[in-house]
Symmetry: D2
Subunit: 358 residues, 4 copies
Amino acid sequence: MNTFGTLFRITTFGESHGPGIGVVIDGCPAGLAVSDEQIQAALDRRRPGQSDLTTPRAEADRVEVQSGIFRGETTGTPISLYIRNQDQHSHDYSHIEHAYRPSHADYTYDQKYGRRDFRGGGRSSARETAARVAAGAVAQQLLNQQAIKVNSYVSQVGAVAVPVSYEQLDLSLIDTNLVRCPHPETAERMADLIRQTRDRHDTVGGLVTGVVQGLPAGLGEPVFDKLHSELGRAMLGINAVKGFEYGSGFAGTLLFGSEHNDAFYTDEAGRVRTRTNHSGGIQGGISNGQDVYFRVAFKPVATILQPQSTINDQNEAVTLAGRGRHDPCVLPRAVPIVDAMTSLVLADMLLRARGNRV
Amino acid sequence: MNTFGTLFRITTFGESHGPGIGVVIDGCPAGLAVSDEQIQAALDRRRPGQSDLTTPRAEADRVEVQSGIFRGETTGTPISLYIRNQDQHSHDYSHIEHAYRPSHADYTYDQKYGRRDFRGGGRSSARETAARVAAGAVAQQLLNQQAIKVNSYVSQVGAVAVPVSYEQLDLSLIDTNLVRCPHPETAERMADLIRQTRDRHDTVGGLVTGVVQGLPAGLGEPVFDKLHSELGRAMLGINAVKGFEYGSGFAGTLLFGSEHNDAFYTDEAGRVRTRTNHSGGIQGGISNGQDVYFRVAFKPVATILQPQSTINDQNEAVTLAGRGRHDPCVLPRAVPIVDAMTSLVLADMLLRARGNRV
Amino acid sequence: MNTFGTLFRITTFGESHGPGIGVVIDGCPAGLAVSDEQIQAALDRRRPGQSDLTTPRAEADRVEVQSGIFRGETTGTPISLYIRNQDQHSHDYSHIEHAYRPSHADYTYDQKYGRRDFRGGGRSSARETAARVAAGAVAQQLLNQQAIKVNSYVSQVGAVAVPVSYEQLDLSLIDTNLVRCPHPETAERMADLIRQTRDRHDTVGGLVTGVVQGLPAGLGEPVFDKLHSELGRAMLGINAVKGFEYGSGFAGTLLFGSEHNDAFYTDEAGRVRTRTNHSGGIQGGISNGQDVYFRVAFKPVATILQPQSTINDQNEAVTLAGRGRHDPCVLPRAVPIVDAMTSLVLADMLLRARGNRV
Amino acid sequence: MNTFGTLFRITTFGESHGPGIGVVIDGCPAGLAVSDEQIQAALDRRRPGQSDLTTPRAEADRVEVQSGIFRGETTGTPISLYIRNQDQHSHDYSHIEHAYRPSHADYTYDQKYGRRDFRGGGRSSARETAARVAAGAVAQQLLNQQAIKVNSYVSQVGAVAVPVSYEQLDLSLIDTNLVRCPHPETAERMADLIRQTRDRHDTVGGLVTGVVQGLPAGLGEPVFDKLHSELGRAMLGINAVKGFEYGSGFAGTLLFGSEHNDAFYTDEAGRVRTRTNHSGGIQGGISNGQDVYFRVAFKPVATILQPQSTINDQNEAVTLAGRGRHDPCVLPRAVPIVDAMTSLVLADMLLRARGNRV
């Protein structure tokens, strides 16, 4: 299904080259101040054509609020946000109508549905994530009310990695460079790598690190809907994502229990803290009031401007090369998507936590 | 909520030291042959006390089928499986009634619910996973019908890792040693590491690799409920899991697109194949007919038999040491849990795929 | 939530006097032939301004297909249908901004959400049902494939009732008169009553009878999601509905068991039949292959063009009279809504039944 | 699916003559005082063998709390309640193994699932409602906290009806007679009718009226999950129910709008009231603070101790007569079931209302 969330719930729709894409948000409480500008600002961060590091396609991505907001506040009824596609008829996609691009969803959609809207990737296009970003901007407002801060940034491109942990970074620098990496020197090197890759008609992957600060303890549902299970599911639902880890993650498997455990203490202000945070702010699936942090692995974009061997829908060998304008690296534009999905998960968990106690 | 799955749906209940734990399976199609023995066999793989590598607690974990199976076949009505707890009153848990064990769920449950059943970890105990394993055995039967094979094995303990990929292993060897690692020499070294760790009163983590073979193309839902999103969510919902990756995973971020893409071809038998399988058998969230494989990171068990600093529910500093008998390494017993959750996800996706086409 | 259905699932959005209303259909199988004209035809049946019996408001209600249909067939992805509101700014609703219309949702929305979009009833307006009718037209296509026929008609207006059962009527006559009653003489008398009521600035209610023919046995889920529970829920979710009965209904309470039971027999063609059909084609919540029939009670429309005593949002007594153009009787326009909701329930049940057996 | 409710959610399981039946309650907030005795008391009201008006079968129906309650309070984790069946092997059901009882679920289960547990009706047995009653007792505790009062009573048996409305009755008299009718003279006549019917080896139906007092305004979800839609669905999900109406119901269709509308006013205490209550306390699907009342139609029990013509699973004509001990009239025992389902709907709506506003 195309629905995400239990109480703060979104349903997205739309294909890359149909009339438009959109999202219906259901379950947003009444009385939340939301402006078109806030939603538009989030969309602008995801928009293509922002720099020479991303696809030069220029899409305005103007959001239209179709329902659910009255006099600047949510009414409690469904909020429908719509983004019209532009120039959707101007491209020629005949080369992929019958051929399967390697590592794309062409073949699997055909296997599942017996057909697909092949224009620009149709429903499997990353364009669909614009709808999530728009919805995430509304969720974000709910978090702002409680001073919960969500940030994510590019922490690795190919083999170029930020050498320090998030705690040693100034997260306000994220949007000061094209890569969305708050470590300026590394950002430079990442940008260089992306440009070189682009010039070779190739693509490159990397990591996004997400950080949530100010989250109260008690969010997340035990057993199946753990806070990190829902975050992981949300991240793995983003196009091109191959892995998710939180807290100590995969590296934590190398520690012994005596090294990994986070000792509780009470700080001078009387707040409960842990001396380390290998738990990533989550214990037993429930937030413990410490920072939540996680890492998301993105594979290199599958569309490359080089000829590749593949098959067509008659199972015959053909050669295919990407056409048009594509991102050599999705990481910079993935940052607002990670932010949006994080915000959506947290908004949902905040509402679910209202049922914790009588 | 304590429910997992959309169409093949399980709801688990029960605390570690209450009367028992159980699961209700709803949505299992009628006419599936299921025997008590099959379910019991799966539980026996997860049972504590199997060897000196796991907790010496001896629990019989006998399953009782309370409904939904008649004359050896499912009837289409809910299948309730119940496992009575044994000796649940014999232990003394007063030391953790008011103190928070480091990196456990004690503190977060109290923050969320304002109370908890502290006996043996209550609902946050890994004992709850026995219910999942029982349900997984029923899901497994549905997969068997279609010759879908699910296997998982311990691929790393601490820094001791299997040196080859799953394709170079004989997966029928998984249960031939105590560690459940089908690479005998590595299994030996893992067992040594676990014993050393246990003797130091410490614990160690590691990785489980999951492999699905024979999966038809077309399973998985685009956008949010991608096959790998659901697998990831399922794995992250297992106690002690810190990360999930599938196909090329985190390492895939180091490849360029031209290296990472999986070229399609048609083999001699006319089957569609890919020359590499960085995709891990999933493209656009939907299975493509190749092997699905993934890795799951488990942190070292939080309960260690050493004194640790922590706080109590008055926020006062206290010292706490684990008591009783605990696993120095959960990995061997995690294997049947990974199998069960994988089977549950796939059974659900098989049923969901019935709605793909008119 | 604003979502209806489990597998064939719709989410509606939009307010009466916002930019528009719409619906997202999720779960419709791929490969279903659907044309804009089919959807438009269903909307045209519900449209206001069709005759002097309904509101003279003229709204075009043009549907725009925003996604999910490609080359005349569903793709398996969400189908978004949008209907732009017209002249939504031309009316003056200031008289109800602060006053609560009797037997409307004004007061309860304010109590629930602390605010409401008061223009034309906002989200509680019957205008929202246009979205359901559009979605129902898609569901209808799924039923057509299996030769399942859904019909409903006005069987009573005020005290004027059709004197015979549905079996004695020619249901092809439903749309041959303005009232949508297939019993021509009664239709005349109903039309007279509606005109008289309108001229008295009053409103009148009545009954709609629904009939489903050609439904296969085995649809419906036991226990909570019985076929008639879902039909009842669907009907009770239509504005102004006060009651639902199926088969023998309320009158059946007057029969003894020996009179009420439907004896099974096998007809000449070898088909299983029942001699009577007090069960209304449903036994134990599951269809038995006989006709399904039910009745839906609609109260008289709350908006009357007479002054009424009420209170404002300061709890002060005020007098209020309906303004503008309103339906004196919703029954004729309720018929396509009953058809739509019936089709949506059945489409959902058809998909759910795919999971019945291995 | 066998799950009811969105946030206060129950899943029932079990067959009439398997080991037992049960229910898992998920989503009940932590900190609710619940005792085994409260649950048992509710079950005792539904238990067979209470008087000569109901089946003389004597079942103890002892509830076992398997999880979710610790030291007399809910913990926020799933509450599992189990009721062991007694003497489940002592009866002979061979006569219905292959024959279809008229107006029972035998035929439809076979059509749906291709098999059924025929012993005592299996899953379609009214015995399953014991699980709902047990769960309803927990929901009831949540309502008690807010002084919401749920009552229902038998208002009609066959043609014998209570001659006054619920407002003129003393609802504390409901349990003072065997019929559960708070109008003593009518109760006598009802009892007589039931006895006469029983002696004729026949069965009789009737009506249950439900009343909810003290419900705050603002409960219920607009559009699909209206308060009365959910109540209606809940009631129609009870075995033998053929119809549901609330407020003015079917009779309200005979009124004109000017007669039917409920005028708001503010009473001396400053509370918002309506002069009439044709709305049944619900406007636009949301409670308005007035009494909620509704009526539920029950058909006569299908099992009669007379020979009836029917067919077997080879579609051959056979004659079948009910055996053993059965209720001549389910109404008295339906009262606690109506109470339970009402309480479950309201508990769910109370939790859902927590998300109304920021």
